[in-house]
Amino acid sequence: MLFDPELLWLAGGILSLLVLSSGITFAIKRRSGGKPNAVVANLEARVNAWWVMVAVFSAALATGIIGSVILFGVLSFFALREFITLTPTRPADHRTLFWAFFIVTPLQYYLVGMQWYGLFTILIPVYAFILVATRSALAGDSESFLERTAKIQWALMVCVYCVSHVPALLTLKIPGYEGQNSKLVLFFVLVVQISDVLQYVWGKLFGRHKIAPVISPSKTVEGFLGGVLSAAAIGTALWWATPFKWWQAGLLSFLITLMGFFGGLVMSAIKRDRGVKDYGSMIEGHGGVMDRIDSLCFAAPVFFHLVRYYFT
């Protein structure tokens, strides 16, 4: 699997992108004359963090489903941590939260790892849904009960359930594409993340009209259109690495970049509501884990189910 030439082409492409970004950052830094500049420092931190993220992601993907399940399980755990920290809960929720972190999250990823589709797709929407409400009710505190339970359920859905659909892509049995699913994961993550980067770049270069100034001051119509369309174009051009025809790859890329935008927008709305700029500070230049994977949340389950419905 590791010597799949298409996989090597993808990896080579990503590596070239990283080298290019570091080169551009270096050139910008040289031009600014070595004076301390917040934007340039942030750009440099972001690019450096990308190197680390790509390295970790590649290592996980290279070890197959086990590595990917562990990596995304850990990411979910950190994202849930950031999300719940921002969410007001009461002491009566303590044991519910313990369940969420140490039972529900590992179990969800365990089920993905053992490829039990029938259960991993309903564990959180059905069983954790009931568990969270019941455990908090048993703790006997009715103050803001609905808000508290809804927030914990939401956190589990977004941070754990949705994100677990990325490694779940490895469990799909696509005729004629057996043993090649890591390319599908790479394609998905690459298109969604590059859409984020391109929206940022287009927005910085041509951004004029804000889409939702209250929710996300940095999202502009120009950034959105430029980013989504150029990322969809890149996705189309990568059809050879997927089980799709070129136009199918294009359509799916467009859909997942759109879902990525929606995910980012919704996670921003939550941040604004809680009055913070970032979910955390774990990834230098990017913010928290949740700030980096916000666009994957909505895109992953939709992509998973579309591929499962039409291609397996």
Partner: protein, 199 residues
């Protein structure tokens, strides 16, 4: 790397508290005081201090709790080098101020929780007089306010299962007891200094 450094790193990972830059801290023996809501409070402050500062800092803790079992006593004394003070039966022979002043005089810093006990309702309660007596006895020692957030959500009083949320620690500007300041006024000012650090 000592066992203490490892434990401090582990505490920072679990509690989400970040290492404080050494430049932000006073270079002389200081009195760090903070709000109190969890067992993780003193370990978090202890863990957030840079290694060289941590080696010379002594958490002040209630003898009634920490001397209850030999194991607790060993952890408090040998691992954290805590100053154990009497909270219940204060007599002339067991004046809690004496061991604290001795530690300051020996060049160590202190971590104190002027509320006296862990708060259950998330509010910062009235400060006990100890901080004032310390400030009056050693006017040269900077009093550094610290606000601890969300640690009670990680490990609430009375629970033993932690939930790994991201706690945070905010350091304030050092205070000094003013020349003609009354006890009540000083304690209120100190309490507000911690309160103001809350977001």
């Amino acid at each position: 790397m000592t066992t203490q450094d490892l434990a401090a790193w582990f505490t920072r990972v679990v509690c989400g508290v970040r290492l404080l830059p050494i430049g932000a801290l006073p270079s002389t023996p200081a009195i760090y005081f903070a709000n109190h809501s969890s067992h993780l409070d003193f370990t978090s402050i202890w863990a957030a201090l840079p290694s060289s500062v941590r080696a010379r800092v002594r958490p002040v803790a209630g003898r009634d709790y920490w001397a209850k079992t030999p194991r607790r006593l060993r952890i408090a004394k040998e691992f954290f080098n805590a100053v154990l003070i009497e909270r219940q039966r204060v007599t002339v022979a067991s004046n809690p101020l004496e061991p604290m002043l001795a530690a300051l005089d020996a060049g160590d810093s202190l971590i104190v929780f002027p509320e006296g006990t862990r708060s259950l309702d998330g509010k910062i309660h009235d400060f006990k007089a100890g901080l004032y007596h310390l400030a009056r006895a050693r006017p040269g020692a900077p009093l550094v306010p610290i606000y601890l957030q969300d640690l009670n959500r990680i490990l609430p009083k009375g629970d033993f299962l932690p939930v790994p949320l991201l706690g945070s620690l905010t350091l304030g500007a050092p205070l000094q007891l003013a020349a003609d300041e009354t006890k009540a006024a000083f304690l209120l000012r100190a309490q507000q200094a911690v309160q103001q650090l809350a977001k």
